[in-house]
């Protein structure tokens, strides 16, 4: 049985997705300020780590890391609407890359499972 990560295409698929995904996020004025930073390369690397996790691939993220990383953003007003907007961009990215619908469903379920940690609830 291959994993979700392998079925989607592994590291190559993450690489294909990360530019498209991060571009969508930055172009969305309702959320881009949370991602605006002087160090775009570091931010890009974080988006890649997030996608790797959402694809069910190897990652070093824990719920505690998620909480810690997002706490400053929650303090700045990060809420469920923002979370949903990011999730929407993830879905659109996968559709653009012609990932089969059932796999998109699995990815979205993993991403959704991080919501409480991301929003520090």
């Amino acid at each position: 049985m291959s994993t979700l990560f392998e079925k989607i295409g592994g590291d190559a698929a993450v690489n294909a997705a990360v530019d498209i995904f991060y571009r969508k996020v930055l172009a969305d004025d309702s959320i881009s300020h949370f991602f605006e930073t002087t160090d775009m390369e570091a931010q890009h690397a974080k988006q890649k780590a997030f996608l790797t996790m959402a694809f069910g691939g190897p990652n070093n993220y824990t719920g505690a890391d998620m909480r810690k990383a997002h706490a400053p953003l929650v303090a700045k007003g990060l809420n469920e609407d923002h979370f949903n907007a990011v999730a929407g961009h993830l879905q659109a990215t996968l559709e653009e890359l012609n990932v089969p619908a059932d796999l998109i469903g699995e990815v979205m379920a993993i991403a959704g499972s991080t919501k409480d940690d991301v929003l520090n609830r």
Binding site: V18, D19, Y22, R23, L26, A27, T38, D39, M40, E41, H44
Partner: protein, 323 residues
């Protein structure tokens, strides 16, 4: 938590702190600049213990063996004893062989290093004068074509190093140099790809090096170079860039003047705005940015949104070539 031993005293680290953070939190003055692993100003010597691979990634093998590392890139996992680097290991002497004024504000310096320096066009050197001031300057020369190391220095009102270089550093004198550093360079293997380069002020220096390197390596795709200045007399390589564009039909030189009425053949406005306006779709392009930090940051984002892949946008984290 691990501890950092410096000059016989132990300083406990906080979670996720780099060696540089811990020392600075304790009021110890370690030189640093970019905090991004690019400028190498924060290099330290590890006397005892182990440092992370990441903190040594970019160092020359000789320095790695001596256990030098970048303090801003090292989150220690165990106790380490550190010291400031020995200057003899890191810096080499270079002699000034030529100094020429290119514009009202920009001078060209040609240096001869005491030992050969192996570099790529577009990388930068750290210069240290007798007073111990250290500043980074990009290389405009090409290792296999030019005999000397070429740097462009612009007189900055508050830049004490630029004043010193321009007013006091004269032909025959020596200065200490360290390098090369940086990743903003031409990579071969894709000679057809279009390149776009945007540089403000002496941010032109590394771009000229990269442009010449690309041609030298047989690049065939279009190369657009945008040089942005405030007044037209700051277009300090105008004639030679015009000549280069004449000689190579894939080279396009755009001289952009933002401050005064541009004369014939020049474009009015900021270089980055003009470049992105003329090339709204950068999918598949390689992008090189150098100059004022705000310009580099904004243009990096705009180029990415315009379709350039993040890995195809080169700009050193060290983005203040003008001191």
């Amino acid at each position: 938590m691990p501890e950092i031993i410096y000059q016989g005293k132990a300083y406990p680290c906080q979670p996720d702190e780099t060696v540089l953070d811990t020392l600075r939190r304790n009021g110890i003055e370690v030189p640093y600049s970019c905090c991004a692993g690019a400028c190498h100003t924060c290099m330290l010597h590890c006397l005892k213990g182990e440092v992370s691979e990441r903190s040594q990634k970019d160092l020359k093998p000789a320095l790695k063996n001596l256990k030098y590392f970048l303090a801003c890139q090292c989150v220690p996992e165990q106790d380490v004893e550190v010291a400031l680097p020995d200057d003899e290991d890191v810096y080499v002497s270079a002699r000034l062989v030529e100094k020429e004024q290119l514009s009202p504000t920009v001078w060209r310096f040609r240096l001869e290093a005491a030992v050969p320096i192996y570099y790529h066009a577009g990388q930068f050197l750290n210069l240290k004068n007798e007073a111990g001031w250290v500043r980074s300057y990009s290389l405009a020369s090409l290792p296999n074509e030019d005999e000397f190391l070429e740097l462009h220095v612009r007189r900055m009102p508050d830049g004490q190093m630029s004043h010193w270089l321009i007013d006091h550093f004269s032909v025959g004198m020596h200065i200490e140099i360290e390098g090369p550093n940086g990743h903003c360079l031409y990579t071969d293997g894709e000679p057809e790809r279009p390149l776009i380069m945007v540089g403000t002020g002496t941010g032109l220096a590394p771009l000229v090096g990269i442009l010449r390197d690309a041609l030298h390596q047989g690049h065939r795709g279009p190369i657009h170079l945008y040089h942005g200045v405030r007044t037209h007399d700051e277009l300090y390589l105008h004639e030679s860039l015009l000549a280069m564009a004449q000689q190579h039909n894939n080279v396009y030189y755009h001289a952009c003047v933002s401050g005064d009425e541009p004369a014939e053949g020049l474009q009015a406005g900021r270089a980055a705005d003009i470049a992105l306006g003329e090339h709204p779709d950068l999918k598949g392009w390689r992008v090189f940015l150098c100059g004022a930090p705000e310009m580099v940051q904004q243009t990096r984002k705009k180029a990415f949104l315009a379709g350039a892949s993040m890995q195809d946008i080169s700009a050193d984290a060290f983005t203040t070539p003008e001191h």
